[in-house]
């Protein structure tokens, strides 16, 4: 037991680095006693080093801590994605005026490092207890971060709403886990699958009930309908860097644990035949996924059309994007999961980019309303062109990364004879184009108000960070082979071929 734990530590290096860097950040914050970029830089370096160690693990497959977490290419892919997006979010926070003006010093750095640790564990846990714990690790820090600017009314309100919905759905999730544990007698997802495949037929109602209850916990993390109620208010009230974190990192982590849970536990004895997951009869989660994904796409896209705040519009858009990503699970094969990974990587750059431009605009204008962006294209042309790229990418226009993501998802659907679902997705993409273009309409086709045509100036750093997001968004739209290779390599999970 002890020996195994000690042996596991070498595979646990990325997480250990994160813990150390979190402690270092806390100590630095105590020593410096004022707002300082040093702590942020220390946090970024810590996450980058842990990402490097995660990269070194690519190709390894091992099981750590008596079947609690595993190291496999799938978890490494998500660790890289999560680490990269957290680095971007910490950089965003250094730019954001909201974060600078808050009464806190540098707490957000170690809160975000702690969330990264939780998200790493979410990507690699194979035990339901570990899944629940890591999900809560991410949640507890994000409740605090949502109310980070505590003097601002809407921030404190959003934190309140977030913790109520979050605690409720994780409570429902642990109740579902307790039912599944009682039925199968194990918490390990592979043993669950072995147990379920022995049942013939496995049409126990308790299985469906517990699956739906567990999905409540995961669905809240990825803000899927019907667990999405917190999303618009929290996104609107939280500081923009935190919103970016919730939209990208935390939802990517939610997807990682959802995919692993559902494609490992509710399968017939870990069987994968020709890349197709063999779903146990009786619990057909494919249909549940179709319902969730179609509902998310339709509600997200059609509600986003009416929003006057860009931040709130992006909240509904991220519900819809979650719906698109979930399409990859409805086909229940490895091709679909690979498409999800490709989409998540594209989603990182385009969505974080949109939030970064929003931070730059909000710094200057103190608003995230559409009305405030009238004629901004004349005042800050470069930033607005960048916003244009991100908006087109989010709606899935060709030559952007968003197109590649949608292309692979829809291809997976069509090859599995789910043409109608691909058509629903395509129709939603058309609707989404309407509200994404609306932002550009306000920026470029409307004249700025009289006497307010001064050019806005941004530092060189802002442009560098923006181009660090624009360039991958464009490049992955044209040269996407490495991304696709990595995603296809990464879908091999522990226990699978």
């Amino acid at each position: 037991m002890l020996e195994q734990t000690l042996n596991s530590l070498s595979g646990f290096l990325p997480e250990t680095v994160l813990i150390v860097s979190m402690v270092v950040c806390i100590i630095l914050d105590l020593i410096l006693r004022k707002k300082s970029a040093v702590v942020s830089v220390a946090g970024i370096i810590g996450i980058a080093v842990s990402g490097y160690f995660a990269w070194l693990q690519l190709g390894a497959k091992s099981i750590l801590f008596s079947g609690m977490v595993v190291v496999d290419p799938y978890s490494v892919f998500f660790k890289l994605l999560i680490g990269l997006s957290t680095i971007f979010v910490i950089i965003f926070a250094m730019f954001s005026k909201e974060m600078k003006e808050s009464t806190h010093k540098n707490e957000y750095v170690y809160l975000m490092t702690a969330m990264t640790l939780g998200a790493y564990l979410m990507a690699s846990s194979v035990n339901m207890l570990m899944m629940y714990l890591s999900l809560e690790t991410v949640s507890l820090s994000s409740y605090v971060l949502a109310g980070y600017t505590k003097k601002i009314k809407r921030s404190s309100e959003s934190a309140m709403k977030y913790i109520i919905y979050g605690a409720a759905s994780s409570g429902i999730m642990i109740y579902g886990i307790s039912l599944l544990y009682g039925f199968t007698g194990t918490l390990n997802i592979y043993e669950t699958s072995i147990f379920l495949s022995r049942l013939n037929p496995a049409s126990e109602p308790v299985l469906i009930i517990s699956l739906i209850m567990i999905l409540a916990g995961f669905g809240y993390k990825i803000s899927s309908v019907p667990f999405h109620f917190w999303t618009p208010d929290v996104y609107e009230g939280a500081p923009i860097p935190v919103t970016g974190f919730l939209a990208v990192t935390s939802s990517a982590a939610g997807f990682s644990v959802l995919i692993r849970f559902i494609t490992n536990s509710f399968l017939a004895g870990n069987l994968v035949q020709n890349g197709q997951y063999v779903v146990i009869p009786g619990v057909n989660w494919k249909e549940i996924m179709i319902v969730l994904s179609v509902a998310s796409m339709i509600l997200g896209n059609f509600t986003a059309v009416w929003q006057s705040s860009v931040k709130r519009m992006l909240a509904y858009s991220s519900i819809a994007q979650g719906g698109y990503i979930m399409l990859g699970l409805t086909v229940a094969n490895q091709q679909g999961v690979a498409a999800m990974l490709i989409y998540l990587m594209a989603y990182l750059f385009m969505n974080l980019g949109a939030f970064f431009v929003l931070i730059l605009i909000a710094n200057k204008l103190d608003t995230d309303e559409l009305i405030g962006m009238k004629g901004l294209g004349y005042k800050a042309p470069v930033i607005c062109v960048g916003m244009g790229v991100f908006m087109f990418a989010l709606s899935g226009v060709p030559t952007t990364a968003g197109f590649i993501g949608k292309f692979y998802l829809f291809t997976a659907l069509i090859e599995s004879k789910l043409v109608w679902l691909a058509l629903v997705g395509l129709m939603n993409a058309v609707v989404s184009l309407f509200f994404y273009i609306k932002v550009l309409k306000y920026m470029f086709l409307m004249k700025p108000e009289e006497g307010n045509t001064q050019k806005l100036k941004f530092g060189a750093g802002a442009y560098i960070v923006m181009f660090a997001l624009v360039i991958p968004t464009m490049v992955f739209g044209i040269y996407f082979t490495p991304l696709v290779r990595l995603a296809e390599y990464s879908i091999s999970m522990f226990g699978f071929r």
Binding site: K153, S156, A159, I164, A168, G182
Partner: protein, 102 residues
């Protein structure tokens, strides 16, 4: 009559239902949080009862200890957030503290 697994499961289900009801019907943030505690404890009862009566070792009991710890952490953070909400809005009613609308 001997007390068996079913009794504990029924107790857990009742607690879960009460917690869900408290969450939906109460407007006071503190009472909503109490509803969430009830749900977590319902899960605890289930876990302990299953591991005791189905002869599953101590797995379920270990999980329930973790759940208790998490409930404490969650309550601490939630009370901090409620306090902050009270400072800003002078109320802990979640319907009154609602400035963001569609």
């Amino acid at each position: 009559m001997e007390i068996g697994l079913t009794h504990y499961l029924v107790l857990g289900a009742i607690l879960f239902g009460l917690g869900l009801f408290a969450m939906i019907s109460r407007r006071n943030a503190i009472l909503v949080l109490m509803g969430i505690e009830l749900i977590l404890n319902a899960a605890n009862i289930n876990l302990v009862a299953f591991s005791r009566y189905n002869g599953l070792g101590v797995d379920g009991q270990v999980v329930s200890i973790f759940v208790i710890i998490l409930a404490v952490a969650e309550a601490a953070i939630a009370l901090g957030i409620v306090l902050n909400l009270y400072n800003n809005f002078a109320t802990v009613d979640i319907d009154e503290a609602n400035t963001m609308k569609d």
